[in-house]
C-alpha cells in the first residue's frame, strides 16, 4: 500500500519538475533542448502578446470570480429557503457544471453567433438595437462574452458548495438572533456570513484556480482572438507549445502561472486554519 502512494507522488511531481525544467530550455517538438537559462522568461517578459494575456487572465479571473461569488451566494440563499421540489431544482441547477465545458461552449458559440445570435434577435425585436451584435468580434465584447459564459458554468458550483455550508448552520442561531431583534439583513451579516467564511474561502480558492487556468471555454469560443484579446495564459501556452512547436516557451509560460496559484493555495490554507480555530480545534 505504501508503494502505491509513493508511485503516485512521483507520477505527479515528476511532470511538474520536468515542466519547470523545460521552461529553461529551447526544446521544440521532436528535438531535445539545451539549457538556455532565463532566456524564455526574458523573451516572454518583452512580448506584447504575453503581457496582454497576463492582463486578460487577471481581468477574466477577477471579474468572473467576483460575479460568480455574488450570484452563487445569492442562489445558495434562495435554494436554502423552503421550496417545493427543492431536490429537483438543486439537481437541475448543477447541470451546467456537469456537462462537458467544451460542448456547452459550442452552445454559447451559437448563441453568440454574429449573424444568427438569439440574443441579438430578441433585442432587435424589442427595438433595443438596430443591427446584430458582433459578440466575439470586438475585443471588449469578446472578453465580456467569454466571462459571461464562464460565469454561467461556475455559478452552480459555487452555489451548491455554499448551500452545503449553509445547511450546516443550525437554525437555532437564527432563532436566537431573531429573538434579539435582528433584522434579516443583520442575521445574514452577523450569523450567516461569519459562519460561512471558511467555506467561502475554500470554494473561492477553487473557483479562482479553475478560472485562472481555464482553457476549454476560450479555446472553443475564440481561440484567443480577436487580436489576442481573449488569450489567457493557458491558451497562449498551448498555442505556443503544441501548434507552434515551442515546447520550452510554452512550458515557461505555464510555469509563470504557478506563483499566482501558490498565492491562491496559501489563501485557502489560512481559510482552513481559521475554520479549525473557530471550532475550538488545534492547528491542523
Amino acid at each position: 500500500m505504501l508503494p502505491a502512494a509513493t508511485v503516485l507522488l512521483l507520477f505527479l511531481t515528476y511532470p511538474l519538475g520536468l515542466g519547470t525544467w523545460l521552461g529553461f530550455t529551447d526544446t521544440k517538438i521532436g528535438r531535445g533542448g539545451e539549457w538556455i537559462g532565463l532566456e524564455n522568461y526574458e523573451f516572454l517578459w518583452g512580448d506584447a502578446v504575453t503581457r496582454l494575456s497576463v492582463f486578460n487572465t487577471i481581468f477574466y479571473t477577477v471579474v468572473a470570480s467576483i460575479i460568480k461569488f455574488g450570484l452563487g451566494l445569492w442562489l445558495a440563499l434562495l435554494l436554502n429557503k423552503h421550496l417545493p421540489f427543492k431536490a429537483f431544482i438543486r439537481a437541475i441547477v448543477l447541470l451546467p457544471f456537469i456537462v462537458p465545458t467544451a460542448l456547452s461552449a459550442i452552445a454559447f458559440w451559437w448563441i453568440y453567433d454574429s449573424q444568427f445570435s438569439i440574443i441579438s434577435w430578441v433585442l432587435t425585436r424589442w427595438g433595443v438595437i438596430d443591427e446584430y451584435i458582433n459578440f466575439l468580434g470586438d475585443p471588449w465584447l469578446a472578453r465580456l462574452s467569454v466571462i459571461a459564459a464562464n460565469i454561467w458554468r461556475g455559478v452552480p458550483f459555487v452555489a451548491i458548495c455554499l448551500l452545503a455550508g449553509l445547511q450546516t448552520i443550525s437554525p437555532s442561531y437564527y432563532e436566537a438572533a431573531s429573538l434579539d431583534g435582528a433584522s434579516d439583513w443583520q442575521q445574514f451579516r452577523f450569523v450567516t456570513l461569519p459562519l460561512l467564511t471558511p467555506i467561502i474561502a475554500v470554494v473561492m480558492t477553487f473557483s479562482v484556480l479553475f478560472t485562472f487556468t481555464d482553457f476549454q471555454l476560450i479555446y472553443v469560443l475564440t481561440r484567443g482572438g480577436p487580436l489576442n484579446a481573449t488569450h489567457l495564459m493557458a491558451t497562449l501556452s498551448f498555442q505556443r507549445a503544441i501548434p507552434g512547436g515551442a515546447l520550452g516557451e510554452g512550458a515557461a509560460l505555464a510555469t509563470a502561472m504557478v506563483p499566482f496559484l501558490m498565492a491562491a493555495i496559501l489563501f485557502s490554507y489560512f481559510g482552513l486554519q481559521r475554520r479549525a480555530w473557530q471550532q475550538g480545534g488545534q492547528d491542523k
Binding site: A102, S104, L179
Partner: protein, 300 residues
C-alpha cells in the same frame, strides 16, 4: 436584497419549527424575493441546453433565417443526427470517451483506495504531509501539466493512442479520489479494524472485507465524480491525440465538425447534445452522491 427581505413582523413569536420564522412572510413577498429571482436563475442556467436541443432538430432553412419564431421548430428534422451518426466518426468518439473514462476511473479508484487507506490508517512517519501534498496535487491544474506530459508521452511513444489518455487522466483523478476517500475512511470506527486484527485478519483482508463494504457510498461518489471529470477532460485529449479514430467526443466535435467557414450548426449541436446526455443521465441517477462528493472535497 436587504430592503426587500427585511421582515416587518414583530419578532416575538418563538418557534420550534426548523424553518425558523419564514412562515410569517406573505406569499406576494415570497413571490418577488424568492420565486422570481429563482426563475430567472433557472431560465439562464437552462436556456443553453434548450437552445442546443432545439437547434439539433431544426432544418437548415429555419436555422439560417431571421424570420419566424426561432424559439420553436416548425419542421423538426433528424437530418443532423443522421449526418452525425453516419457521415462522421462520432460513434467512434463516443466509444473512445466511454472506454477512456471507465478505464481511467477504475484505475484511479484502485490506486486511490490503497493510497487513502495507507495514509489514513497505517500511520507511517510523515503520513500527514503526504495527505497534505495530495491535496496540493489536486490543486495543480492540467493546463500547467500538459506540456511536460506531452514530452513524456512523446518519449514513451504513446502519442495518438488511447493508452496515452488512460494513463494521464489519473494524474488529476487520483488526488481527488484519494482526498475524498481519506475523509470516508476516517469516519469508519477504528474499533472494527482492531477486532478484525485480533481475529487474525491481515491488513489486506481488513481493507477488502471491512473497509470497502463500509465505504461503498464514498466509492460511488468518487467514481461518479471521476467519471464526469474524465468525460469532460479536454486539454489532454486535444494535445495527446490527433487521429480521428482515437479522439474523444469533446475534442472530436470541436476539431472535426468545424470545417472552414461553414459551420454545421445542427450537427454541432446534435454532437454536443449526445455528448452531454450520458453524463447528465448518469448524474441524474446519483445526484446525492455527486453533490456529497463535490461538497465533501471542498469541506474537508
Amino acid at each position: 436584497m436587504s430592503d426587500t427581505e427585511r421582515s416587518e413582523t414583530p419578532t416575538s413569536a418563538a418557534t420550534t419549527d426548523s424553518q425558523g420564522m419564514k412562515y410569517l412572510e406573505s406569499t406576494p413577498r415570497r413571490l418577488v424575493t424568492v420565486y422570481l429571482p429563482l426563475a430567472v436563475f433557472l431560465f439562464v442556467l437552462l436556456f443553453p441546453f434548450y437552445w442546443m436541443t432545439i437547434t439539433a432538430f431544426k432544418p437548415n432553412e429555419e436555422l439560417l433565417s431571421r424570420e419566424g419564431n426561432p424559439f420553436w421548430v416548425i419542421n423538426p428534422t433528424l437530418a443532423h443526427i443522421k449526418k452525425l451518426l453516419f457521415d462522421t466518426a462520432y460513434p467512434d468518439w463516443l466509444w473512445n470517451t466511454i472506454l477512456v473514462s471507465v478505464v481511467s476511473t477504475l484505475l484511479s479508484l484502485f490506486c486511490s483506495v490503497l493510497a487513502a487507506y495507507a495514509i489514513e490508517r497505517l500511520r507511517f512517519r510523515g503520513s500527514r504531509y503526504v495527505g497534505m501534498s495530495i491535496f496540493l496535487a489536486y490543486l495543480v491544474p492540467p493546463s500547467i501539466l500538459f506540456i511536460p506530459l506531452a514530452a513524456i508521452i512523446f518519449k514513451f511513444q504513446l502519442f495518438d493512442t488511447r493508452l496515452a489518455l488512460i494513463l494521464t487522466y489519473p494524474t488529476f483523478l487520483i488526488p481527488f479520489c484519494t482526498w475524498l476517500l481519506m475523509g470516508y475512511f476516517r469516519s469508519i470506527p477504528f474499533e472494527l479494524e482492531e477486532c478484525a486484527l485480533i481475529d487474525g485478519a491481515s491488513r489486506l483482508q481488513i481493507l477488502v472485507k471491512i473497509i470497502l463494504p463500509l465505504s461503498v457510498p464514498g466509492l460511488i461518489s468518487a467514481g461518479i465524480f471521476a467519471f464526469t471529470l474524465s468525460w469532460n477532460e479536454f486539454i489532454y485529449a486535444l494535445t495527446f491525440v490527433s487521429s480521428s479514430e482515437v479522439k474523444t467526443v469533446p475534442v472530436g466535435v470541436i476539431t472535426e465538425l468545424v470545417e472552414g467557414d461553414v459551420y454545421h450548426w445542427g450537427a454541432l449541436m446534435a454532437g454536443a447534445l449526445f455528448g452531454s446526455l450520458p453524463v447528465a443521465i448518469l448524474y441524474s441517477f446519483f445526484v446525492e452522491h455527486y453533490v456529497s462528493g463535490m461538497t465533501g472535497a471542498v469541506k474537508e
